[in-house]
Subunit: 425 residues, 2 copies
Amino acid sequence: MGTAILLKDVTLRDSRKDVLIERGRISKIGPAGESAAWQLAGDLDMMDCSGMVAIPGFINMHTHSPMALMRGIGEDMHFHAWLDKIWKVEEHLDHEFVYWATKVACLEMIRTGTTTFNDQYWFFDSSVQAAREMGMRIATGYDVIDKGSREEAERQKEQCIGKSEAFLHRNDPGHIYELAFHAIYSVSEEMIVWTSELAEKYDVNLHIHLCETRKEVEDCKAAHGGLTPVEYLDRLGVLNPRLLAAHTLWLSPHDIELLAAHGVHCIHNINSNTKLASGYRFLYNEMRDAGINLCLGTDGCASSNNLDLLEAMKTAAIFQKAWRDDPSALPLGELMDMATVNGAKALRFDAGRLEESAVADLLLIDTDNTFFLSPGPFLANLVYSAHSDCIDSVICDGRFLMRHREIAGEREILAEARKVLAKIA
Amino acid sequence: MGTAILLKDVTLRDSRKDVLIERGRISKIGPAGESAAWQLAGDLDMMDCSGMVAIPGFINMHTHSPMALMRGIGEDMHFHAWLDKIWKVEEHLDHEFVYWATKVACLEMIRTGTTTFNDQYWFFDSSVQAAREMGMRIATGYDVIDKGSREEAERQKEQCIGKSEAFLHRNDPGHIYELAFHAIYSVSEEMIVWTSELAEKYDVNLHIHLCETRKEVEDCKAAHGGLTPVEYLDRLGVLNPRLLAAHTLWLSPHDIELLAAHGVHCIHNINSNTKLASGYRFLYNEMRDAGINLCLGTDGCASSNNLDLLEAMKTAAIFQKAWRDDPSALPLGELMDMATVNGAKALRFDAGRLEESAVADLLLIDTDNTFFLSPGPFLANLVYSAHSDCIDSVICDGRFLMRHREIAGEREILAEARKVLAKIA
């Protein structure tokens, strides 16, 4: 948890405050200047934050972080052809690749304001190691994908239980252990049910892809007597509040009812969906009105092609405004919730709001640039006008991950990543 | 034109080169290292560009730069309600506002890689002064908007001729003088024809808004016997290769034929169109296939809300891919041309290609960061992955406007802009 941090004269919800951070939590918030009278222990890291605005750290709710070293390998392709290509490349990956690629992803996420990410990838142990060394909070775990092979299913069952129990015993609060199965088209019915029951047993989340393409829905209907993917999962009994469903782009009104009734959390990934031409009419209003908890993700860099959640926020907003023909669609406050507190809710930890006793995951936004010179509201400037380089500093779990745009170890990570890329070229 | 510049070991179209810039032009390009043998005069500014890629400076073909200080004043509104609000605010502007607001816009454009911009605004003399002091190339001039008032039309005719002749006599190669009329719904038929004839007489471009909203098209049809705005302008005889038409979002096949046949240049402004929910189905393929020269713009900050052409490139690409259900839509090479050489062609100057004897407007891209760590092509990394903060240095007309992210006078401009904002608050 490190040294206590005192942020002096930082703007918080439009008023100037002093903020004390201790043992990974926001311990005290008072009017700017008041901290001079606080009784504070000796070992204190003070930062003058005048001209800076504090907001919660972003929570990237769907990515495959090691794809940070796989950008551009499948440009201009439709989703299913793209996935075949990706799967071929992935046969050659190893722990070393995943470790350094996740480090690269962490650099990029920290620079763009993400403090927690929900990941799904091969060799997740190496991603956990990389993310925790970078000081980030990661949600990830064993990803089941048997592609219909019974032999592979049996192998994965054994490995999944072994890995899961080892990681659950570690009890690292910075690693939110979860299970995953890739998607209904790549995992057998038996393994979908098995993984879901294991998630229930361990009381952990289950991270999946769902209704990403029209083809997925059509294929499912053809294979399962007209059931949509959501109806199919409902029949298998795996819809519940532990389910984190990425994409949910092609939904019927009945699908939305089912997702809402079972408390499934849904994750919008607009950059990936549009770049792969999977679709863009994400039913934000309908899902929100049904009461579904809606989060935001970037997806992996091989599809989207970066990990910038602030960029994803703007893209999500303008796509909603555009296709709905409604300039007031996806209001900024709701968009911020999607990128912060809604993710924390899905991952069941106490972040996303800058209040006393909350987890100290926060960003310091530098407003001393053209993008914030405006009579308009801060959030409009942040989302519609600025870029992630306005993020001066990033604090996660009460520690600086980036301070005035400096990240410890950045040069070494870039150098090691180049070696890894040269090796697989 | 300043001192000669030698860029050593810069990557140009995938190979490493030395590039000499003299008197505002690229005078020599040779293999990296070769410049050691060149006979070069004494006063030389050398820059080590290893790890950097040179690309042409961006040309923002449609903006209203002084709106850089009007961000956020009309959020979440449809175009026509928004425009009414903007017009009310604009009644209170003056030369001082326009001068400092344009300086702010120039800061933002330089930081995001624009070297030339095509502007349309009140008090354009002050924008010209500001842009030229910043070293940028600006295309702008008198903007006619009589809103049907005969008295206003007569006043504007006189003022337009006076200003035009004064600026044409200045003969500043960094200011491309042009005329403008706002749009068919805000300018009388007589003044549309008058302005077009004056543009012909002076042989300058004419910058207009065209087919920005469905309402504009419907109102035009109702008012002009079923003619679309393009057909209406054709009937008035004002379609020709001097016409720079911003938006062109709601076009019939016949409109596209007319625009192509008359050599009209069209400018796509995706961020503005989507944020104001004006539309998103820009007919890129159809217009390109008809032979229309297609350019890119950001529009003004009150609508879009920034001046970042690199962001506009990505947004344009993913909207085309999304609504066309085609991940190969708007290929990267064509997108780069839209943002560079096509604008130069429309403005009739010799930039947009990094070749010997071309105008020395160029950007140096720093690839030493996560966004370019990839086996994929450079342009994919630049457009889909990186942000404009990868732009290390900007050269316009053979002079550095930004060097290693430093722009001369930036602090003073931000301070003066804050004073101007405080005054109008």
